[in-house]
């Protein structure tokens, strides 16, 4: 008897290049149509072929968006996957794999699944993916037609032969899956989500990219770097439709300086990169601060130092964004935690960048960008973006002094004035100066905007009830889904959560939220960077920290454990 009434965790494992992505994408699309609550996340190696990559797909009755350690069913397209996942395989795990490959090791729980044989029966190993998807759909009991319809649509262009072979493969797998489900008495969580036309399925990269388009982003210059490349390819694919200028730079230094040139000339410019590439952009960030030119930077986190683990996940670059670039100037940092927040991140970033004429960071990570789940289309809309550009008069001065430190932003060619920006300390016109008095004024000008930036900063999302709680678990960025699930699972009113989708600057109200609470900060890094920031900015004592920096995200179980430990401490 295998009843998963609330929650089923399936994991798919195979070598790079084996088509894992096809299998999981197929399944997700079909399961979504079936009305299931879905969440999927992926971990992969830094290589193109071979090795072992895995994807988890969760089907849940409640809306869950977090990584589960437990594996209910493991579909091992390559025997390597079983080794790779050994620590997560429990006696309860059903192992769908080719039994002979393990010389008896997993015989107890292995359901011999002859991928290769089936595929060969269909004609070629390329159909293994379809077989695999068929097996899963058979187990779940989704009508076979929804699968074959899907295949017809997908392979229409490739001709009838391909369609029909895929259909055969699908049926082979499906029947096997059905049979197994009946034999083992497998029961799934119900499809509680109800499919509707406003329900969309996408990954974090798409959500972020759609937000960029919604924000009117029309310029990207970037040097590829995982996991930052996703935004580049997304915008490249939309370039024609939406008039986005895409330039693949020769290096990251070129990327940010080109983006700054573009922004100076009035473009809505973005760069995307990861830690090492971002290091090289720091002088450019400092330049953005000096010339008061809007700059949106997508910093997609992965484990460092140096090259580190290029395809893994970490939340280790908050300090990097906080202190990037020499010299003092204002900045803002956003850290979306859900698909919804990802779609809002870029519009908000561009609004802040334009209004305050500063660099704005959007911090994501590999885990979040590659995670796939559903989102309500109603959340995604084009919003008006704050714009600071004016038509210049003949006597225009780019750095005219003002009460709030902000000057109207002219762009070259628009109006009668000339627009002069200078990386040296400059006067109101933008010309180089060595006056100490002017220097003093300009330092103040650049910093004065911090006040308003702070006062209008986004508040953290409260999970649970602040009134009832004595303990506050705090996270940022991609850990939002984790915290929501864990707090819900614990069901302890004394423990509430805060998720920061804007870690910097912190709204002054934040300090009051933390008052008189026991504080625990959860971060996917080695030292607790938000914890440091909180203690610095809110003047509260250094909070407890739950940290992980192995390159993997937290599992729900780990976090439940850690919080239980705290409760008993």
């Amino acid at each position: 008897m295998f009843h998963y009434l609330h929650d089923l965790a399936m994991v798919f494992g195979g070598e790079a290049g084996q088509g894992l992505q096809t299998v999981t994408e197929t399944l997700l699309r079909i399961l979504k149509k079936g009305g299931y609550n879905l969440f999927s996340c992926t971990e992969y190696m830094s290589r193109i072929r071979g090795g072992c990559n895995t994807t988890e797909i969760r089907i849940t009755d409640k809306n869950r968006k977090a990584y589960l350690g437990r594996i209910d069913m493991l579909f091992a397209l390559s025997p390597l996957a079983v080794d790779h996942l050994e620590s997560r395989i429990s006696p309860e795990t059903l192992l769908f794999a080719e039994k002979e490959k393990f010389s008896g090791k997993w015989s107890e729980q292995c359901i011999d699944t002859p991928w290769t044989k089936f595929a060969h029966e269909t004609g070629s190993a390329v159909f293994t993916n379809t077989v695999a998807a068929g097996v899963v759909l058979g187990i779940i009991g989704t009508p076979l037609e929804s699968f074959t319809d899907y295949l017809r649509e997908q392979f229409a262009e490739k001709g009838d032969d391909i369609v029909s072979k895929n259909t055969v493969a699908a049926k082979l797998g499906y029947d096997f899956g059905r049979r197994t489900a009946l034999e083992k008495d497998i029961l799934l969580p119900p499809p509680t989500a109800r499919e509707s036309s406003s329900r969309l399925l996408m990954d974090g990269n798409a959500a972020l990219g759609i937000g960029a388009i919604a924000a009117g982003c029309n310029f990207i210059s970037t040097y590829p770097m995982s996991p930052g490349t996703g935004l580049l390819t997304f915008l490249a694919s939309k370039a024609k439709t939406f008039g986005v200028v895409v330039d693949q730079a020769e290096d990251e230094i070129a990327a940010i300086n080109a983006a700054l040139g573009a922004s100076y000339a009035g473009a809505r410019a973005v760069v995307t990169t990861s830690g090492g590439g971002f290091d090289l952009m720091q002088e450019g960030v400092s330049l953005a601060g000096m010339i008061e030119t809007p700059m949106v930077i997508h910093l997609a986190q992965r484990p460092g130092p140096a090259t580190g683990l290029p395809t893994r996940t970490e939340q280790g670059d908050l300090n990097l964004a906080l202190y990037a670039g020499h010299g003092d100037f204002a900045r803002a940092i956003l850290a979306p935690g859900t698909l919804e927040e990802l779609t809002e991140a870029m519009p908000h970033a561009f609004s802040l960048a334009n209004k305050f004429q500063i660099p704005v960071f959007v911090l994501t990570d590999q885990y979040l960008l590659d995670a796939i789940t559903t989102i309500d289309a109603a959340c995604i809309k084009q919003r008006p973006i704050a714009e600071s550009i004016i038509q210049t008069g003949a006597d225009y001065q780019r750095y005219a002094l003002s009460d709030d430190g902000l000057s109207p932003r002219g762009v070259p060619g628009y109006g009668e004035g000339v627009v002069r920006i200078d990386s040296d300390e400059h006067d109101e016109q933008g010309l180089i100066t060595e006056s100490f008095v002017m220097r003093h004024r300009m330092v103040e000008k650049r910093l004065r905007r911090k006040q308003l930036l702070r006062e209008t900063a986004l508040l953290p999302t409260i999970i649970g009830s602040l009134e009832e709680a004595d303990t506050l678990v705090i996270c940022w960025g991609s850990n939002r889904g984790l915290l929501e699930e864990v707090l819900d699972t614990l069901g302890n009113k004394k423990v509430a959560g805060l998720h920061f989708c804007q870690p910097y600057p912190l709204n002054p109200i934040v300090a009051t939220l933390l008052e008189n609470k026991k504080i625990v900060v959860v971060e996917n890094n080695a030292t607790g960077q938000l914890a440091d920031l909180l203690s610095l900015e809110t003047r509260s004592r250094i909070p407890g920290r739950i940290l992980k920096a192995t390159g993997e995200p937290f599992t729900v179980e780990e976090m439940v454990n850690e919080l239980n430990k705290l409760n008993h401490a």
């Binding site: 230094i253 080109a258 933008g430």
Partner: protein, 278 residues
């Protein structure tokens, strides 16, 4: 203070002459200041845009070319002229120099080549000649000098010229041609630094340069290369000119509407994009 009276250059410096040539060229070409963007990095040479009443992007050391790229791609109606030093363009900015040529953007690049780092007080630059003694190169420069013309030709830059600042008239003419040329145009300008470069003096340039032979075929890349690396006097003039290469703006399909005028994305297209995730 009006810009002209506050020039930070030394009396007698070649920058002053080159600046004169640039200003005259811009003037004679009737380029409107509101449509002109002067872009530079950091260095003595890179101060040039401070003294021209036009739009200015005085960015980071070595990073003038990427900034120029961003500007031009965002508004191709602007005339973009890059002016910077040899250290800026061939040292710190060497990678951008190469890759800018690959793009063939329609910008003009004027390099004040004084064969030394002026602003930082006299260290060797990439174009410093072997043997020149400096505070860092106490036994003289050891490295092969960077040959901007040869490299530009190797990269198939479509307009490659060299001028000598003290010959204001010829320099001006080359700059005019470069600005009117459609594509990436490089004018490397020998510019005496009277303070830090005691090797390549006015006298030295007089003795060691000559104009290209009248019969040099500016369409002949290999010949141009030979002249650029050749022994003997250093030729001045337009080495290479190739109108065939497409410019990057066209290849990318950049329209005439500057990006600051772009409207919000079309709602229908936007919905269609979202549709794909149903």
């Amino acid at each position: 203070m009006a810009p002209a009276t506050d020039m930070a250059w030394c009396p007698g410096c070649g920058n002053l002459m080159l600046h004169h040539a640039v200003k005259s060229a811009l003037h004679e070409l009737h380029i409107e200041r509101k449509n002109l963007v002067m872009v530079s990095g950091i260095g003595q040479a890179a101060k040039s845009p401070q003294y021209i009443n036009a739009n200015m992007f005085n960015g980071l050391h070595g990073r003038a070319l990427p900034a120029a790229l961003g500007i031009k791609l965002s508004n191709r109606n602007l005339v973009v002229v890059v002016e910077s030093g040899d250290g800026d363009m061939y040292g710190e900015g060497g990678n951008h120099f190469i890759h800018a040529i690959r793009r063939n953007l329609d910008v003009t690049v004027i390099v004040h080549n004084n064969m030394v780092y002026g602003l930082t007080k006299g260290q060797a630059s990439p174009t410093s000649q072997r043997g020149m003694i400096t505070p860092v190169q106490l036994n003289g420069v050891l490295l092969e000098p960077f040959n901007p013309l040869a490299v530009a030709l190797a990269m198939n830059a479509p307009f490659v010229a060299r001028a000598y600042a003290a010959d204001v008239e010829e320099t001006k003419e080359m700059i005019k041609q470069a600005i009117t040329f459609r594509g990436f145009s490089l004018v490397d300008v020998f510019q005496p630094c009277v303070v830090f470069n005691k090797v390549n003096t006015y006298q030295w340039f007089k003795e060691n340069t000559c104009y290209l032979p009248k019969n040099h075929d500016t369409r002949d890349r290999i010949a141009a290369f030979g002249l650029a690396i050749g022994p003997g006097k250093l030729p001045l003039g337009i080495f290479y000119r190739n109108e065939e290469r497409d410019i990057y703006e066209d290849l990318l399909g950049i329209g005439n509407t500057p990006l600051y005028q772009k409207e919000a994305p079309d709602e229908k297209a936007f919905q269609a994009m979202i549709e794909a995730y149903r």
